[in-house]
């Protein structure tokens, strides 16, 4: 695909808002760096969710005003945050026991690639001169029950990020449950990518064309996706 990206589909904030709709009341949630960080701002009224950040805080609140806050009260992206009433601090081994031990209900992460089997690549492009850096991503996907990915459907160069097999080094195999892109919501099932929802103004063929593996149409929906 050589054409320029058309101005259709969801913005980054609209993608974050869409993910927030699916976060159940009462859950313990870890949000990755980037678009996932924005999800908290869009949690629907009436739901209470406790945010975990792997550097040792449960009950993370929004970032304070610029130049306010404490440089020693930060999130995993090293951005200043706040601690809400009822928050707790703990050391790194306890924090990752929460993750690896299956105590965190849901994690929202970014992606370089997701395969039709749910393999996630989001830590390295495998370039030989790049400084490898993994952080907590591998622990999160190995330990958290439900993994949501929020990502642009294609790279800036127009390459699909939903693929048959990841060509980038894996963060974890068969770990992704659902993908929220600017074009669609897609589930990872035993049959592969299953379309759940199309962004407004986008039809099935448009998304299928930009997906690097077979995309199953919405169950019970029309192939055109605009029924």
């Amino acid at each position: 695909m050589t054409d320029t990206t058309p101005a259709i589909g969801l913005t980054r904030d609209e993608m974050a808002r869409r993910v927030a709709l699916d976060i159940p009341d009462g859950s313990y949630v870890n949000l990755g760096i980037g678009i996932p960080e924005r999800v908290a701002a869009y949690l629907p009224e009436g739901r209470e969710v406790i945010y975990h950040t792997e550097n040792g805080l449960l009950g993370m609140g929004p970032s304070p005003e610029l130049d306010e806050g404490d440089p020693e009260l930060i999130n995993a992206g090293k951005r200043r945050v706040t601690a809400l009433e009822g928050a707790s601090f703990f050391h790194h081994a306890d924090s990752f026991a929460m993750i690896r031990g299956g105590h965190i209900d849901l994690c929202v992460l970014g992606a370089l690639q997701v395969s039709q089997h749910g393999d996630l690549a989001n830590w390295s492009t495998g370039e030989s001169d790049a400084i490898p850096a993994v952080g907590g991503a591998m622990d999160l996907v190995a330990g958290v029950r439900t993994i949501y990915v929020v990502t642009q459907h294609c790279t800036r160069a127009g390459e699909p990020k939903l693929v048959e097999i990841c060509t980038y080094p894996l963060t974890g195999p068969a770990v992704v449950d659902r993908i929220y892109s600017d074009l669609a919501v897609v589930d990872v099932t035993s049959d592969g990518f299953q379309l759940v929802e199309l962004a407004q103004g986008v039809d099935f063929a448009y998304v299928a064309q930009r997906t690097g593996a077979e995309l199953l149409p919405i169950r019970g929906g029309s192939l055109r996706g605009d029924a």
Binding site: P71, L73, H92, A93, F96, A133, V134, G135, G136, L170
Partner: protein, 236 residues
């Protein structure tokens, strides 16, 4: 009479030897014991293996230690941070080695090292390039990799309040790796914003019990790494 107070940062780090493994607390600037690291730079020990989540930023603290050529190997999870240029240069030129460890595995290796556990199995990294060379074993139909406990000759950590016995309280997310590094190092050296007499910290609230601490230095107004970096400061 137990009193673990040292007269100065210089005195506290005086016996760190060439080739030592030094665990340095902190996640980014939160909890980074900058004054102790600067004392270590002045002291001159070299060929160090440093365990830290990151590799410092700007040209102060951990980044300054690396820039001074004192670190032959970094064990960390995320050596790439905003304003982190020192480590990438030395890594690319082959002058500093890197052992990349997933963050939770790093934490558990340190915890195990401090708890007398030589190795453990974890699901993290199974099926990824970081599993290479590691023993795999299946428990209850799931695969795990073998990881080894990690201990240090010294730990340098920062806290908010210490008593003379070495009981410690931290500040917010500056706690991060420090309690487990205090457990995992043979000699744990602490810089504390405030040092109080035994009995002044409620035993119910102690985060790191004094048994894990060897030396305490008072640093009442610690510098802030991000502020130094913003000013373009460099050490020495």
């Amino acid at each position: 009479m137990i009193d673990k107070r040292a007269a100065s940062s210089d005195e506290a780090v005086a016996d760190i030897f060439d080739g030592a493994t030094v665990m340095v607390g902190g996640f980014g600037e939160a909890g980074s014991p900058i004054e102790l690291i600067h004392a270590l730079i002045d002291q001159g020990a070299t060929d160090l293996t440093v365990v830290n989540n990151n590799t410092g930023s700007g040209e102060v603290g951990l980044a300054a230690l690396i820039r001074a050529g004192r670190v032959s190997k970094m064990i960390c999870s995320y050596p790439r941070t905003a304003n982190s240029t020192v480590f990438p240069e030395l890594y690319r030129s082959g002058r500093t080695a890197l052992e990349l460890v997933p963050q939770g595995t790093l934490a558990e290796r340190i915890r195990a090292g401090g708890a007398g556990i030589p190795a453990f199995y974890t699901p993290t990294s199974v099926g990824t390039p970081l599993e290479e060379g590691k023993e795999r074993r299946t428990f209850a139909h799931r695969d795990f990799v073998l990881e080894y406990g990690l201990s240090g000759d010294f730990a340098l950590i920062k806290c908010r309040v210490a008593d003379h016995h070495g009981n410690l309280l931290y500040n917010k997310t500056a706690r991060n790796f420090s309690p487990i590094m205090a457990m995992a190092a043979a000699i744990t050296i602490v810089q504390s914003g405030e040092v109080v007499a035994p009995g002044e910290i409620d035993p119910e609230c102690v985060v790191t019990p004094g048994i894990f601490v060897d030396r305490i230095v008072t640093v009442s107004n610690p510098v802030q790494e991000s502020q130094l970096v913003a000013q373009g400061a460099s050490y020495p």
